[in-house]
Amino acid sequence: MTGPYRRPVPSTWWLHNRAYFLFMLRELTSVFIAAYLILLLILLYRLNAGRGAYESYLRFLGAPGMVTFHVIALAAALFHTVTWFNLTPKVLVVRVGARRVPAPIIAGVNYAAWIVFSALVAWIVLRG
């Protein structure tokens, strides 16, 4: 007689279910964002190093491979933004008396702030 049976958990468990797969994608968006930040840091470093260094780095960033990377990173960042805002109401629970402020309102405030911040940053950088 053997004891209770323990079912094995394969390390590919996150491929077996759509929700787990999306979870794994969500976690991995942080890798793309971090990689982007390293590239940004290098951009700043080259900017500090002088005109030639800066302009050659801009040419490097303009190569098709790098632009492709940034397009993928942008998609990852947007996925992060949406999942993050949609989960915020889980952490922040605001009560007004017996009633809990509905999740869509808390998420909505986030999206509004997102639009404002994005527009502000784009305006500062691009106003020329």
Partner: protein, 115 residues
Amino acid sequence: MAGTREPFWWSLFAAGGAVAALLAPVQIALTGIVIARGWAGQSFTYDRALALVSHPLSRLYLFVLISLPLFHWAHRFRFTLIDLGLKWSRALVAGVCYGAAVAGTILAALVLIRF
């Protein structure tokens, strides 16, 4: 009696996640696509970029933008490695991930302080 340090890392993770959610898309679109493809015209020539970045507020902004999301990455990546079956000790995984974020933060400070 500080007990577990998890609340500290978690707070950096949460702050970094919020910063990334708010700012990563626009930042990536700007420096990675618009400027890199040369669509920004005169707005990001060397002189203009240098002037913009040299402002103390810009540098503070860039420091926050780079540092906090690195901790966000470290926290998530730490658990992802475990989820994917990495058999290192948990303390080692945490040390490597947070250590990388600390290193990135120091580098960001060193670069930004020189402008």
